[in-house]
Subunit: 224 residues, 2 copies
DNA sequence: CCGCCGCGTCAAGAAGGCGTCAAGATTGCC
DNA sequence: GGCAATCTTGACGCCTTCTTGACGCGGCGG
């Protein structure tokens, strides 16, 4: 089922959220601060993020913007601030919902369902098959000729972005931004190296790519 | 801009919403009850719906379900009921957000923006088809006879400008400005070269253009 | 009828991007 | 502390793309 990243420094609340979300069948990842959240998310990109505005290491809006940098997953903001201005800033920064503390658990769960429901059509695409290999996004597994293909974390991350945009051209900037972070936008070297590695592991004839195509000057495209 | 349907029986609130939404550039349609809302929506399908739960002719959840029947547009529910159960029912019925009265106008406007932002990608349909080829602007892909047509970045950029102005004449100045930059306004050579390349790749008979037409002395025109 | 301007065509040189490879740096694990 | 895997970095040659200039054709006006 869906993976939810919960970011909050209140251990008690974290615990309550974890119990309730797991009871509803969600896969839950917890993080006590923004830095931990970023690290956790790069390993396991979440389908939805619940984040408290009052984190110890970052400002609220900063957190939301940071999340928007690496994911299009819906973001629900929790906050003790009832100020209207605070809500407007968070929502305009990219948050999908704003819930003020204290809140009822049933309400939050309903808002989680609503957010996932709306985001679902675009994001989910569990298994992609080609004539040469199979990619299971949910299971994080690539199979070729019946055998698993070993991918490094970065290789996987890159492949995932391309596969989630199957058929579409993904610009070099977008790939670098999503896989290595906004600071690496100009490091096109990385793309050349890692695309070559993916081709070596996936393409029947790596010197004549059939699935991972280069669009010179623009970016790359995965075509199933 | 986006069309918003507002359903509420409180004339004063309706008036306030109308003024504020129109001031933000939205196209606003008003309805005092559920039946009127349904009629208005069939004539002018809205991009977003704001609906009060306490309507004279229908129950709240019924209204939301009714709206979901004819539209996938996001729904924001307004209600005086703070009861958690009421929120859960509305959200599970298909609402995207639930705002309790009284609320600040700025907050509501921010939630409207957030809902429209998330719904936006799905509503777009930027595919242009002709008898000879197909152009998918979102995927950056051109197909002809089932096969992909390889376009260089500049070729694509030029084609994109022409397609976005399909049917209209685009002046040479405008084309040069958008594709090569303001400094190249007089380099009409570029246009001749690149229009010819596009024709060679797209037109069935490049020497007798059918889609990429020249308007001597003026500019070029793409006719689907 | 002739000359001019604008458009289409072609090709070659210049510039920049891409694939490739391998060695050093870093990380994580035992 | 050492080993193994992974990531980063730089250099090189090839190929695509962009730029640029020359030429022919055709319509329009003189």
């Amino acid at each position: 089922m869906s993976r939810i990243l919960v970011v909050d420094d209140d251990r008690q609340l974290l615990r309550a959220l974890r119990i309730n979300l797991i009871a509803r069948g969600y896969d839950v990842v917890l993080a006590p601060d923004g830095a931990t959240a970023l690290a956790a998310a790069s390993r396991q990109p979440p389908d939805l993020v619940v984040v408290d505005l009052g984190l110890p290491d970052m400002d609220g809006v900063e957190v939301v913007e940071g999340i928007r940098g690496w994911s299009s997953a819906p973001v629900i903001v929790l906050s003790a601030r009832h100020l209207e201005q605070s809500k407007v800033r968070a929502l305009d920064a990219g948050a999908d919902d704003y819930v003020t503390k204290p809140f009822g658990m049933d309400e939050l769960l309903a808002r989680v369902r609503a957010a996932l429901r709306r985001a679902a059509p675009a994001s989910q695409e569990p298994v992609v098959e080609t004539e040469a290999f199979t990619i299971d996004l949910a299971a994080r597994r690539v199979t070729r000729d019946g055998a698993d293909v070993r991918l490094t974390p970065t290789e996987w991350h890159l492949l995932e972005v391309l596969v989630r945009n199957a058929g579409r051209l993904v610009s070099q900037r977008q790939l670098l931004q999503e896989v290595w972070g906004p600071k690496y936008e100009s490091e096109t070297n990385y793309l050349r190296v890692y695309v070559a590695q993916l081709r070596g592991k996936l393409e029947p004839d790596p010197s004549r790519p059939r699935y991972l195509l280069t669009e010179p000057g623009m970016g790359y495209r995965f075509t199933p």
